[in-house]
Symmetry: C2
Subunit: 424 residues, 2 copies
Amino acid sequence: MIASAIANANKNVSEEIMKEIKGGVCAAEGFQAASYAAGIKYQGRTDMAMLYSERPCTVAGTFTTNIFKAAPVVWDRDIVYNRGRAQAVVVNSGIANACTGEEGMECARRTAHAAAKVLGLETEDVFLGSTGVIGMQLPVEKLEAGARALAERLRGDAEAANEAARAIMTTDTHEKEIAYEFEIGGVTVHIGGMSKGSGMIHPNMCTMLGYIMTDAAISQELLQKALSDVVVDTFNMISVDGDTSTNDTLLIMANGMAGNPVIDKEGADYDLFRDAVYEVCLHLAKEMAADGEGATKLVECIVRGADTKENARILAKSVICSSLTKAAMYGCDANWGRELCALGYSGVTFDPNKVDMYFKAGDHELLIFTGGMGTGYSEDEAAEILSNDHVEVIADMHMGEAGAVAYGCDLTYDYVKINADYRS
Amino acid sequence: MIASAIANANKNVSEEIMKEIKGGVCAAEGFQAASYAAGIKYQGRTDMAMLYSERPCTVAGTFTTNIFKAAPVVWDRDIVYNRGRAQAVVVNSGIANACTGEEGMECARRTAHAAAKVLGLETEDVFLGSTGVIGMQLPVEKLEAGARALAERLRGDAEAANEAARAIMTTDTHEKEIAYEFEIGGVTVHIGGMSKGSGMIHPNMCTMLGYIMTDAAISQELLQKALSDVVVDTFNMISVDGDTSTNDTLLIMANGMAGNPVIDKEGADYDLFRDAVYEVCLHLAKEMAADGEGATKLVECIVRGADTKENARILAKSVICSSLTKAAMYGCDANWGRELCALGYSGVTFDPNKVDMYFKAGDHELLIFTGGMGTGYSEDEAAEILSNDHVEVIADMHMGEAGAVAYGCDLTYDYVKINADYRS
C-alpha cells in the first residue's frame, strides 16, 4: 500500500523535494569507501570493497530466504537482529562463500576480525558480503590481507564510492550507484547506495548485494521498517532468471551525522525518509534488472486495476519471469499471447475478457488486446516499440484500484553463454 | 503415494506384466487415425490429425489451469465433465485458437460439426485440440475441409498412428508415441498414446496435448481417477520453460472392445490398468522433456528421503526449473551450487547440512555434496557425467521416506533462437 502511494506521488516528490546528487555510498556525511585487487578469483581487476562510517551506525537489513544461507548472510543477520549497530562492511566478489560449511564461517570471522583490528572496531562491528561461485572456499589469507589493505585506502570522495561499486561486480557490465539529498527538520540529509547483479537474481523478501549509507538520525526500529516496507516493491519486484540466491543481502547504515531531529516515530519526517530509501532502492533495482546477464533491454510490467496489491505484484512478476516472454522480447516479436499466458498461470483469478493489454516505449503506447481478443494493431508498429531498450507491458485487469510494477529483462544468447560456463 | 509405489515396483511390473508394442494410438482394438496437410500455417507438412473409435468411448481428461483457456480446452472440458463419452478427436498444429474470443469458439464448434457430420456422430462426440501461436484466428474453412478429408483417410495401422503423432508437432524434433499390452481377467488389453511438446511446457494439474486410446472396459469414474492420479507424477513433473500453456489437454478414451470384465471398482484390475496409464504417461512425459525446445539432454532430478511426497515433488521440480542449472547443464559445468540453491529457494524446509547430492549418468554416480560442503570430487569426472544426453541429479534429504522425480532439459542457444522469433 505504501509503495503504491509512493509510486503515484513519486514524480512530484522526487523532483521537488529529493535532489539526485553525486557520491554514491560516500554521499552521506562521514562515510568512506575503498577497493582493492586481492586476486581472489578474477585477474586484472578489483575484487574487494570496504565501506566505513566515522561514527557507529544504526543498521537494518533484509536477507535471502534461501535455506542455504551463505556464511556472510549468517554473519550479517546476527548483527542486524541481535546487535542493531555496525560501522563497516567488507565485500568480495568472485567466490560466494556459500555451501562452505564451518570452514566458510571461520573464513568470515577471520575476515571481519582482520578488518576490525585495523579499523579499531569490535569484530561484530563489521558486516561481510560475498558474491560469485557457490561451493568454493575463499582464500582466507588473501581476505585478511585485503581487509588490511582496504583500511589504508579509505577515502570519502565520489571516486572512492564509484570504485567500491565496481569492485563488487561479477557479471555486471557496469556499476550501480545512486545518491539523493533532502531536508528533515530544516537539516540537509544524504542517502546513497550501491548494488550488484546480475545473475541468480530473483530476490525474495530480500535482495542481492545492496548497501545504502545515510547520515540521517533514525531509530533502529524505523530504519528496519522503512527498509522492509520498501523492499517488497523494489528489489523483490525484479527478476533476471528466477533463481533466488544464497547470498542476497541488503543493508542500510545510518550514522546520524546530518544532525536532523532523530526520527523515532512515524509521521512526515519518517515518510520522507522512507521515500528516499524507496528512491534509492528503486533506482538500484531497475539498474540490476536492465543489466541482467546478457540482457539487451529493461522489460517493465505495469499491472493496473487489480483487486489487491498482492495480486498485482504476482501478476506483474509472472510476466517478467516468463522465459517465452523474455525470448520474444529479445527478438522484438509481438507474440503477446505469451504475456497473457503468464498472467493466466500466475495463480491470480480474474476475468480474461476484461483484460486490456498495451505495449509501450517512451510516449508510444499501443493497445494489443481487449475484449478477449487481439486488436487489429500494426505488427510494424508493435515491433518498433519492442525494439527499444526499455519496453513496458501494461495490463489493466479492470477489477479494482490496486497496481504494481515488476522489472525484468530479455532472455538472450549471451545469458546462455555466460551461464553455460560461468566458472571458467 | 501411489506413484512412489508404482515407481518402486515399476521395473518389475512393466517388464513382466506389461509388454511394449507397436501401434501408438492405433494399438488398441477399434481405433483409427489420420493426418492431413490443411495449410493452416506450416507449409510442406501435415498439420491436422484425427483419432476415431469404431465404438463410443468412456472418456476422461485433465486440462490447463491457465485462466486463459483456449477454445478447444473449453470445448473438451465440457464434454469430459458433462457428457463423459466421445468417439473422435480432431487436432491441428500451427495456431492455438487461444485468446480468440467468441470467433475462436465458433471456429471450434464448426470444426467439430464438420467432423461429426462426415463420421455420422453428434457434434459433442468430437474432441478438439489446437497448438501453436496464441491470439491468431484459425482459418475455419480450412479446418472444416480438413476434418472432412481426415475422415476419408482413417486407418487402423501403426503407420497411420505414427503420422498422426507427427501432424500435431510444432517445434518438436520428433513424434512421441508409445503402446503397451497387458492382461485383465485373462483378456488382452491394449493402451497407446501420443503427445507433443516442446515449448510453453510446465503442465500444472494437466498436461500439454496428449491422447491415450485403450480398448479396456472401465467406468468413467475410475478412468478419470486413474488419469488424475497418474498425471501428478508424470506430466505435472516435467518442465521445459516454466510457462504453463493455455492449451494443455490430456485425454484418455476407452472403447471397451478388449472385452475384459468391466473395471468398475478399485482392486487388482484397476491397479494394473492405472499402472498401464502411468507407463504411457511417464514415457510420453520424459520424451517431451528430453525434446524440449533447443534441448540437448534430458535432466532428471531424483529427490529421496523427503518428509512428504508433496515436498519431494516441489524440491525436484525446483531444480529442473532453474535457469542457471539448465544453462550449466548445457555447458556440462559441474556448478553444483546452482542445484543446491534451487533446493534452497523451493519453499520446502530442510536441514542444509544433512543433504547429500550426486550427479549420475548410466551406472556412473558421483557424490558431489555432503555434510554442508562440496566433496573433493574430480572435476573431469563430473564433466564426463554431465556430457551425457541423460543426466540425473540425485538429492537425498535424509528427512523421511518420500521421493519424487522431475524431468527437464538444458537451456541452450537454440531455445532462445526458437523463441526469439517463433511466429515467423
